[in-house]
Amino acid sequence: MKGSPLCAALLLSFIFALAIVPLLSLTHREPQSFAASEASGNETLIPVLSGFVTVRSAHPYQSIEISRGGKVLWQVSEPGLEAESELELLAQDLLQFRVIWPDETPETAVFVEIEPDGKEAFSQTYWAVGNLGEEIRLDLK
């Protein structure tokens, strides 16, 4: 029984069946994932500077998000008035800044400050109702 060709064939098929799962996931990715992978390829080129980001809102926000090319760099989902974090920045960076406030929040102001190490800070106050989506362009060369 031990050396039976049937058993060997069954064992071989089982091993192939196990291997096919990771192979399929490698070869059948969604087009979206390819885009993300391309974007992350660009990002890894030069993460030049460390820095700090601070957000202060006049009314309590629901969430904050800073992303680059679709990749989320910093996310706050706890409601609050102020949040800060460290952030890796590129020499020439384009960040998407999103803030969402709860329904029935009146028009409000939000202050964002990005402080790259050794460089002048970028700071801006935006006004919005309900949600805000802004692009922040940084030239740190």
Partner: protein, 291 residues
């Protein structure tokens, strides 16, 4: 007696759990205490009455720093001995220059003070803490570095840094509000050496310093005549001596020009803590320039 023993024992146990960090400047010490609180023990080698520009650590200072894994310096060339100091450190010890992460300014004022290269026109100005906004960034830098070294307490460092940052933000607003009491045309800050460039840029002053002063506070007759003429022409209301500097020449200038001699300012030293230093300087500047 028993009680004293238990208190002593508790304090000893608390100290054993503390992280030992070094500081090369009293302002850095203040920053570290604010961010580190009870989690760290700060070892400082520069005393409040020592001149930061001429100080050199001796062998006793180096020994004091031996147990510190991280040593904080103000940076931007303020500690001119830093290269040699770093060479003397043991493996595993590192120096963090807080000023490295703060945007730089160049020395920019009319006359050139020739005491040392760090105060020559165009040189990198190391006195970044005179802009209170820079201290708000400094607490984040200190919190980041302490958190890397001691991840267990990183959250505590972040929350203490946040509180300290809020205090500095309030102090920055207070400075702006006090300075607004001085008429714009009178916002000229005349000091013996170029230490207030960051302060002047942040709060709308024109910086000027007395040309030709020697390290001992002496001035040549020719320079004295020139400075008297300049001060009269520009209708300067007050000139400010500095703590740890000889006010002799400034007193003479004050007598000759009728300019008021303000109270000494803390340029490189500290008055108890950072906040009191800034409040002292600003109160004295406002008092003298609004008289």
């Amino acid at each position: 007696m028993k009680m004293t023993f238990w208190i002593y024992l508790l304090m000893t146990l608390a100290a054993l759990g503390q992280l030992k960090v070094g500081s090369l400047n009293p302002i850095a010490t203040d920053l570290l205490k604010q961010v580190g609180g009870e989690h760290i023990e700060v070892v400082t080698i520069l005393k409040e009455d020592q001149d930061v520009h001429t100080f050199r650590p001796d062998s006793r200072d180096l020994r004091k720093m031996q147990k510190c894994v991280l040593i904080f310096a103000m940076g931007k060339g303020l500690e001119s001995y830093l290269d040699g100091f770093e060479d003397s450190l043991e493996k595993g010890q590192a120096v963090i220059e807080i000023g490295k992460s703060i945007p730089s300014q160049r020395v920019d004022a009319d006359p050139i003070y020739v005491c040392c290269p760090s105060h020559a026109q165009g040189a990198e100005d190391p006195h970044w803490w005179h802009n209170v906004k820079n201290m708000e960034r400094a607490v984040k830098i200190v919190s980041r570095e302490l958190g890397k070294l001691d991840p267990d307490n990183a959250k505590a460092y972040r929350s203490r840094a946040k509180l300290a940052g809020a205090r500095y933000r309030e102090l920055h607003r207070w400075v702006k509000s006090r300075v607004s009491e001085i008429p714009k045309g009178q916002r000229v800050l005349v000091t013996p050496h170029a230490a207030f460039g960051y302060f002047c840029k942040a709060y709308g002053f024109q910086a000027a310093f007395v040309q030709g002063l020697s390290k001992d506070g002496e001035i040549s007759a020719q320079q004295l005549a020139h400075t008297i003429r300049e001060l009269k022409e520009k209708q300067i209301k007050a000139i400010f001596p500095e703590r740890l500097a000889n006010p002799k020449a400034l007193k003479q200038l004050s007598q000759e020009t009728g300019c008021q001699l303000g109270a000494p300012l803390y340029a490189d030293s500290i008055h108890h803590d950072y906040e009191r230093t800034i409040r002292h300087n600003v109160n004295e500047i406002v008092k003298a320039l609004t008289r």
